[in-house]
Symmetry: C2
Subunit: 329 residues, 2 copies
């Protein structure tokens, strides 16, 4: 019986983590111009009779994933997944012992493996992401995400998501917005957990993809993942992917790197009012600080354009009271 208060507290924490719409919709945001610009936008486009009113069907909001909804340091989490998969698959590939980039990877020399540049990365991706059915890959991702730990914090990756952004997702949805992920990450890498973690269902996840082939295996239909690129959802690809999947232009978009620039331009230039937001990683103590010269999530041209055009720039150090949901107490 004495567990009741703890249970009630846990329930309260969960509720505030997922949905803090009553009262302050963005409770882990410090007061200031950033929070104000988001709230002011939502209030004006949802106010009936206002000249800025946007019908519910047009309330499309798109979010980059890496560095915008969850972390991306010390390298993209999907890359860490691929490296873990190389280790797991090594026993089935004795030839990798003498073949780069696998040989270096298996010796623990990630830097050496990636010295092969884009070609090496593509080889690692195809060796770990293709060759199985879509259902098999779904299970591989679910098993990994349930057990893998971040190399710096030791925490599960799905806990290293940004609490203030979860509040933005919930706030927008409570105001009739449909929220989408638009990420350079693999669409089939994100879908298995995005619904549980972000409340974003599979058909609202847009990402990069490889080709698949329909096959009947003993009369049973499967989709086989092929080692062939289908679509790169990055830079100019983001507006292309948005049009291809959604067929409507977003009125709000959130990104954190130059890979998001064209999505933000596309969103800001629509006929409805448009909100373009950049997450600027400025907090080396609580998270990471990086921008113009980073290899991961480089933010350079998009930061200049944000300043020129008056887009909203989130300064994590200044604007966010906490970073992760597990900090809520």
């Amino acid at each position: 019986m004495n567990r009741l208060p703890a249970l009630m507290f846990a329930a309260f924490s969960l509720a505030s983590a997922v949905n803090a719409v009553a009262g302050d919709p963005l409770p882990t945001w410090n007061e200031g111009k950033t929070k104000h610009s988001i709230v002011a936008f939502v209030e004006k486009v949802t106010k009936p009779g206002s000249s800025d009113f946007v019908p519910v069907a047009e309330r499309i909001a798109t979010f980059d994933n890496d560095g915008t909804l969850w972390g991306e340091q010390p390298m993209y989490y999907q890359m860490l997944f691929a490296l873990d998969r190389v280790k797991a698959l090594a026993p089935q590939h004795p030839e990798w012992k003498d073949k780069e980039p696998f040989a270096s990877l298996l010796k623990g020399d990630v830097k050496g493996a990636l010295a092969g540049g884009e070609r090496a990365m593509l080889e690692i991706f195809m060796a770990t992401h293709a060759g199985m059915t879509t259902e098999e890959f779904d299970k591989i991702v679910k098993d990994w995400i349930a057990t893998a730990k971040h190399p710096v914090t030791g925490r599960p990756y799905t806990t290293m998501i940004y609490q203030p952004m979860l509040e933005v997702l919930a706030y927008l949805r409570a105001n009739g917005f449909k929220t989408y992920i638009v990420s350079a990450g693999g669409v089939e890498f994100m879908r298995p957990w995005a619904e549980k973690v972000y409340g974003i269902p599979p058909d609202q996840v847009i990402g990069s993809s490889i080709k698949t082939r329909f096959e009947l295996r003993n009369g049973h239909p499967v989709l086989v993942r092929l080692p062939e690129l289908n679509f790169i959802d990055e830079k100019e690809g983001k507006p292309v992917g948005i049009q291809q999947y959604i067929g409507r232009r977003p009125i709000a978009a959130f990104g954190n790197s130059d890979g998001d620039l064209q999505m933000l331009q596309w969103t800001a230039a629509g006929t409805w009012p448009g909100l373009a937001v950049i997450v600027h990683h400025t907090d080396a103590d609580r998270e990471w600080a990086y921008d113009r010269t980073s290899n991961v999530g480089r933010l350079d041209k998009a930061l200049d354009e944000a300043n020129t055009r008056g887009w909203t720039v989130i300064d994590i150090k200044r604007d966010w009271k906490i970073i992760y949901p597990f900090e809520i107490r």
Copy 2:
């Protein structure tokens, strides 16, 4: 004042055309095994506690368009759109006078133009579907669909939709299903009117597509439609497109031709109960009758497989009281 009864009657007709959920959900369907198989499926997957219960999130239903939701005779309506566009664009293309397939087309010789086979069709499609921005194409389609008339009936194309299928769409949605179009037709050809006509929003329309390119024109971002195929949403492409866009397997699928066979196989083979339905065009008096030898909407292998596997086959002549919404009185 004496117009009131007529107005009330019109309002009543509209309501029954769009949504006949109260009472009989499928009022223009004759009683019999076809109607029963659809209703029995919906009832079993939505009955809480039943072993066949399917959670709302998994209630995905996919519909082919040509020959399943609207007509496709004497040829696919998008082909008729392309032919109309060739005529409209001819003044800007004096060279077409001496260049096939355009020369024959402009003389009214459609058969001669299409004698060039797939290559001729592709040339006509690219000349009429590429080269403009996505917004310009959207407007072209909307203008055409608002004014063009069917060559046999003289009626607008969007009135030549199947009333019994509108009832199925409404019935499924009223039972928590998300309804999608999965068509070999162009996705950007269907989206401009599918929401108004079928209640299916742009992000639930999956179709064939050409590539687009993001460009800044005097600082203004546009997406330009390129004369290059991106994806053919037909046969083996339908399950591929479903996985790519939706990321979930349908539990109900409706088609009418061999182009839908793989979508039906994919739907029937899921872990949830699956409903696979074929519209068989059997009514030469009220619509058209065609199947195994037709050039448009050929239904041969899929009809055999439907019989073998016990899929639901709609016999239009037997199962539908009326064909089109305008027949409602």
